[in-house]
Subunit: 142 residues, 2 copies
DNA sequence: ATTACTGCAAAGCATTTGCAGACTG
DNA sequence: CAGTCTGCAAATGCTTTGCAGTAAT
């Protein structure tokens, strides 16, 4: 019952809202937007303010428990816990679903940047196309 | 003097503003934001409205001459002409410079998406870290 | 002359910030 | 109790949209 203590970010007070946000993130395989999280919590009785969710997420990111990512053609950031380290995703261009990818193209690859001294810290890979469901509905021309 | 005609998107009227936007994009190696473009044009006398630049860019993207991209930790979209097909970039986390990459990790790679039927249409790779200049200034701990 | 394009103003959205009261440690 | 969090409201910044006048074909 108390094993979650370990992943609680140091220095952050344990409040109901934060536990709720963490809980939602934990019970989710894919990344979620602040609004998604807010909606899932709000499903109950106690409303949680969007701005609060943003602040909580910001803290989580700063503390290293969560990561913020942005996918193409979307102006909404999504967040996920670092323990679920699906670093890469496929994004459906029709329904905008975000599907985890199991392998990583950067494993055996050295980027050749047009700046010799560029120090690579991390990377972000994103594949886009159409998921099984959307493929049947609308076939992209070209 | 007229060889640029070829790349002019079909169906779009040739106006001064559009030529200016296209011109700015052509004289630039890296991708630019709408505001960048606006600023570069505005450098002269004739002010061009930001909203107009956005509309022009939208047309260019729709016509297939330009591409819109979004890099992590930035809420500003950037645009570039398709002829300069630097599909991938390194992004400096300090000065936010966007530096082209010469190779692509996806060349000999098949993504394993957790949706067997996922039809891959394209991809987006982004490397982040510190450019030569920023590396000297602030050394990232850890 | 028609139709598309632009200046300009104002709206729209995701995200951030300010403040006072509420809660945690 | 002190310091941090949260509800709430309002601001911010990028991008989009509406409208009427202007320019391109």
């Amino acid at each position: 019952m108390k094993k979650e203590q370990n992943l609680w970010p140091a220095g952050l007070k344990k409040t109901k809202t934060r536990e709720q946000v963490l809980d939602v993130l934990q019970n989710q395989k894919g990344p979620l937007s602040a609004m998604d999280i807010c909606a899932k919590i709000d499903g109950g009785e106690n409303a949680v303010w969007l701005s609060t969710v943003y602040r909580v997420l910001e803290q989580f990111v700063k503390s290293g428990v969560a990561t913020k990512l942005t996918v193409m053609n979307s102006d909404t950031a999504v967040y996920e816990l670092n323990r679920f380290c699906h670093k890469h995703y496929a994004v459906c261009m029709a329904c905008h679903k975000i599907i985890p990818m199991d392998n990583c193209p950067m494993e055996a690859f050295t980027p050749r940047v047009q700046d010799d001294g560029f120090q690579v810290v991390g990377h972000n890979v994103e594949v886009y196309g159409y998921c099984t469901k959307c493929r049947q509905d609308e076939a992209p021309e070209e």
